[in-house]
């Protein structure tokens, strides 16, 4: 009440009640998105860094368990004979401990429990043992001495009919406190680390520039009017739209060096080559031009051509949209001034396209660097095509070392972060 007597001077500071309500509503609308992105993108990013410092193999993901083998040591001939029931328990994991192991089993009614292990209690026919903690790979025998009663001799029962039961708390390999630098040490000491990094950069740069140039060219073609243009445009977009596995495998069969490979058969038929070329299996070939010999990476180049083939439509689409939104006045003026078509392209079209080309370069560069499926399906990372992303899979799942894979993934992310910083520093404000 008292505030209403002194009128506020100047504009109100902070958020008014209406603005606050709007803010709360906005946050409410954004909350679900925020949560799902947090749990599936941001949290795994951090978890990945965590895993990269841990010695985790793929097999460790299966939680450790107690394996038990139950056996009757001795024979019952007449009533009163004694024998041991031996339970041989083992921690299935060689790496992680199991805590609070409790063991229970029931002995048949016709057997009398004489003595039990000192950590066990027998109540009636039931045995219960508190076994405490099991170290990785630890094994232990629990022995229960029993005597047969007449009923057992008359109708022997199999002691295995009642399964021994264990309750325990397995240690989670992902959340325990064991850390190591081995993953990173091994990664940077590996002889092929720099090869992989170089392949990654070559693939990314050549793939991005190639897709952009081809996209620019295709956009010029699609900008002229002719019958059937819509059909052709649909066709040109299809490499981008079709499932990657479908087109990648079609390429694999197309480029197959064995019998049945279409392209090799075609080139031999045309007399271009003498024998089949293993396009996706040959690492490099030496080419001599003017006395200079240089090594040409075959498989890597073919993989890059696939990348260009698959992603030029995206560049084409954006460049075409930009071209069709350009005003025609300036071209008419240039016509009158006598500018030739090439000059018009060089001095009018290209400057206007530079903005969208820069954005496309940025996006495509990062996406190409991130690309995994294409190379994985074409070569599986063989013949010098192993990029960083394929190396993540190779380490984590082919070599079953999750920690090492995560370490490579951390490197991928760091390289990406560097690119982003460089790009956003040097890119013009309005485009990004």
């Amino acid at each position: 009440m008292s505030t209403s007597e002194t009128p506020p001077s100047g504009p109100p500071k902070g958020l008014g009640p209406l603005a606050k309500r709007e803010m709360r509503f906005a946050y409410l609308l954004l909350l679900p998105t925020f949560l799902i992105v947090l749990s599936v993108v941001l949290f795994p990013l951090i978890a990945n860094v965590w895993i990269s410092f841990k010695p985790v193999a793929l097999a460790d993901l299966r939680p450790p368990a107690i394996l038990v083998n139950e056996r009757l040591m001795g024979k019952f001939e007449v009533a009163g004979d004694e024998a041991d029931i031996r339970y041989r328990a083992r921690n299935s994991s060689r790496k992680s401990a199991i805590t609070d192991v409790v063991f229970t089993d029931t002995v048949p009614d016709s057997l009398k429990i004489l003595t039990v292990n000192d950590r066990c209690v027998a109540t009636g026919q039931n045995i219960r043992c508190d076994l405490g903690d099991y170290a990785p790979g630890q094994r232990e025998d629990i022995v229960v001495r029993v005597a047969a009663m007449q009923a057992f001799i008359d109708a022997p029962e199999n002691i295995k009919d009642s399964d021994p039961e264990f309750t325990f708390v397995p240690e989670n390999i992902l959340t325990n406190g064991e850390f190591t630098f081995d993953n990173f040490k091994r990664l940077f000491n590996a002889s092929d680390f720099w090869t992989v990094l170089w392949a990654s950069m070559y693939y990314t740069i050549a793939g991005t520039v190639g897709a952009l140039v081809m996209g620019l060219f295709a956009a010029q073609l699609m900008n002229i009017t002719f019958g059937g243009r819509a059909i052709l445009r649909g066709l040109f977009l299809s490499p981008y739209v079709a499932p990657v596995i479908a087109v990648a495998l079609a390429w694999v069969l197309l480029l197959d060096p064995g019998p049945g490979g279409t392209l090799n058969a075609l080139l031999i038929q045309l007399g271009v080559i003498d024998g089949p070329i293993s396009f996706l299996g040959q690492r490099a070939v030496d080419i001599t031009i003017l006395g200079f010999t240089f090594t040409f990476p075959v498989a890597l180049t073919v993989v890059i051509i696939f990348e260009i083939w698959r992603y030029f439509p995206l560049a084409m689409l954006f460049i075409l949209a930009r071209m069709q939104s350009m005003s025609t006045d300036i071209y008419e003026a240039a016509e009158i001034d006598g500018a030739t078509p090439l000059q018009q392209f060089r001095f009018i079209s290209l400057p206007q396209l530079m903005g969208i080309m820069a954005v496309l370069f940025l996006l495509r560069f990062i996406w190409t660097f991130n690309k995994f499926d294409d190379i994985f399906l074409l070569t599986g990372g063989a013949a010098g095509t192993r990029t960083l992303t394929v190396n993540v899979y190779e380490q984590a799942f082919a070599l079953s070392n999750l920690g090492a894979g995560a370490a490579v993934a951390v490197v991928v992310f760091l390289v990406l972060l560097c690119f982003s910083v460089i790009f956003f520093k040097f890119s013009p404000e309005d485009d990004a």
């Binding site: 906005a26 990945n48 993901l61 992902l174 499932p243 479908a246 930009r322 903005g355 995994f372 984590a396």
Partner: protein, 410 residues
Amino acid sequence: MSRLGNIFYISIVFGALWGAIWTVIVTLLALFVSGLTFQPQVTAGAFAGLAAAGILMWQPHERRSLALRAVAGLAFIILLLVASGAEPMGQPISTYAFGQFVFVILTAIFVVQSIYFVGANLGPGSEKRYNIEVLCLRFIKGFGLVAFTIAVALPFFVMIMMSLKNQQLLLSNPLDFSIDFGQGFSALFRSYIELFTRYHFGTYLMNSALVSVATVAITLFFAVPGAYAVARLRFPGQNFLSRSILLIYMVPMIVLVIPLYAIFSQLGMRNTLWGLLFVYPATTIPVALYMLQGYFRGIPAELEEAGLMDGLTRLNVIIKITLPLALPALASVALYVFMIAWNEFLFAFMFLDNVDLFTLSRGIAELNSSEVPRQHLMAGAVIATVPVLALFLWFERFLVTGLTAGSVKG
């Protein structure tokens, strides 16, 4: 001034090039269709093309009538036959005679039309740099169209044709893509029928459809309110959000796959479709949100304000005013998300072990072994490609406007 100038001379060079290009292409086409070992007669084709261009371009452009083009075409055929020793496609004219006849005529038509369109309204005399550039650019563009079309179509062509053959034929003559229609429907589509009856492709198709549609629904359900908030409502961090939301899309999937694999394994969510339905929307929501907020900003705020004045709540404004206006954008986002989910390979490959849960991508990966014949693999590829391509081509206009107008404005 001589009647023949630079345009004429450049044109006959292009004529020779067109002759060579079309001879190669049509001969290869004939080779694929017939399965015979044809050899393109490149030099003969080039020579004949040069002559045909000479005949056509000799005349001023307004006199290059249909009849003249027919004469040029005839000259092309005769010269091709003579120069190749009556073997226009590297085989005696008697083998596959009717086919050769058709393909040679086709070559002639393509060559003459190409020369005609490239030289339209030009020549044959000397002209300025402007028109020479026009002539050269027309040739380059024409050649580009042909080259692009072949490069794009060849893998798809091979994919379809291989799926209709059988392994022995493919291995014995890999260039024979002739189709024997006489064998009947069930023999021709044997691979497809086997995939559906023996390889559970019906299940895969259902799973793919289910996952993709559900991903679209979940994505839109989350992204629409989010996009509306970013586009319309004022709150601290709005600018930051609208700029940085796309950064999420830059995070490589391969970096997420190890932790998600580990965590989902331990939670028992890995080998389930629910797991995919958790991961897919998370990767598509940011880009959907970004595309939608761009479109929402374009809708006049006055319309919504009028609704608010009339007593509608915010939620009702969104449902009754904003969404109907944004329908084209919603369609394009839905299509784009569908495409991503349908084509997704990495997570389907890593997560699914159970045959009953396989999506198409995962199912095809399973076919990719030496025990499964190639035609099955390619038939699987066709089955996965056809639905998404058909849907895309059908709604192409939506997608193109949505992708380009909504997301990146250059």
